[in-house]
Amino acid sequence: MDQEKIQKQAKKIMDDFIKALEKQELSEFSITRKKSLRDQEKYEVDKDFKDNWLKIVPKKKDRYLAAEKGHWK
């Protein structure tokens, strides 16, 4: 199977579909918000999360997870 051809075809289908949807007037519900959180919502970041997570990853490079490419083969 030609992956590139299939991917282009899939993208074209999605573009055609989304074009049809974009013509619709959207209800209040569906208005795109400029911010991803509402004002009253507070999202607290767990400051220790990355440090704790980096302690248990199999391989790391600096402050990032090192990909184990091909490790499972």
């Binding site: 199977m1 992956q3 299939i6 991917q7 075809q9 899939a10 993208k11 289908i13 999605m14 055609d16 579909f17 989304i18 049809a20 949807l21 974009e22 619709q24 959207l26 209800s27 519900f29 569906s30 795109t32 499972w72």
Partner: protein
Amino acid sequence: MIQEKLRLLQTGKLTAEQNIKSFIDKIKKEDKNINSFIEVNKNAVQEAKELDKKKKKGRLFGLAIAVKSNICVKGLLTSCGSKTLSNFYSPYDADVIKKIKQEDGIIIGMVNMDEFACGSTGENSFYGPTKNPVALDRVPGGSSSGSAASVAADFCDLSLGSDTGGSIRTPASHCGIIGIKPSYGRVSRYGLIDLSMSLDQIGVFSKEVYGSALLLNIIAGRSENDPITFDNEVEDYHIEIDKVSSDLTIGISKNFNDLCQDKRILGLINKKIDEFSKKYKYQKKEVDLEYVKLAVQTYYPLVYVEFFSSTRKFDGRKYGFKIEENCGEEVLRRILGGREISKAEHKGKYYRQALATKNLIKNDFDNAFKKVDFIISPVVPRLPNKTTKKITDPKEMYAYDAFTIPSNLAGNCAAVINIGKIENVPVGLQVICPSFKESLMFNILHKFEMLK
């Protein structure tokens, strides 16, 4: 008659072993022409023998139930009709399977399906296409092709399938049987290998309304394993199918009818509605479902993105084989398409736009159900294609689900019942009810059944 069979099983005039053996013999003889089973449960007869020793018998005692191969049954091959999972034997039972086993139903085997539920015809399986037992030259419909074919061919009493955009209702229509898609949140999907988690539902097939009503009554309900399931009371659908419902209003939508390409299907449905409304003295009312024309365009971006996300676990490391290297063309199209439109550069445009339109379609149905009690529509826009004429254009294939997708987007319950034949091919009628009105839906289906 399933009620009569249950009575014989309950009274010991028919043993579970006899019931299961008769199906297995029939499968061995006839399924090579249908290809509905991927795996027959080798332990089914032994399980039946054990059940026959029991004094207290469950409500499904001794019935043979076939299971779509994307629902986990402990020890059986849960392949999703794909080479990717062709070596995956499930280590646990899905919630629905646990409930069936608790009521002494017997899983007779795992049935064929379009690969990862991606298809509407039953032709896209690693294990070969399923044949339509009642119209051999036509496709059986999909993706729950084996679930419908196995019931239609009398290889089992009942079966389970899954419906994301019509995967139960389309094959039920083409095979001339009953197919039920419950409301979103009615049945636990724990143990269902998902296609699109915001739309998937597990549902049932049977030859008579009673069988589906009984099986749904058993598998429905809240589960801690699936957070989208609701606490709503599970009514005794099978007992209430005879309930007298008066003063109901039937909804008919021009928006649906305009999408029907084969006007003979529409003619047959209209004739049935007239007969039905006259007999039961129900009113008919036109309802406006303006946005159903966009259902296909709304559904596929959601499915592409959610399917891409759900298949990331099939990397060949823990189990199975890497999906991109082992799947068929339609599965690959959805994965690559989903990957493409999920990219950060698109800022969620496709998914968000589709979600917004999904809401418009849901509003359409909510408004319609303020005026009518249920809506009747066709199931598919044309007769199923011949097995020699495979649909190769994906958009043409997607458009085939135009009547079934809206109920998934709106979360309603919907069902299919056979109303006759055109060119010797079964034609179904779709009954759509508001969410969690399954009891009303079964009542209406039974009334249609009584018209025959």
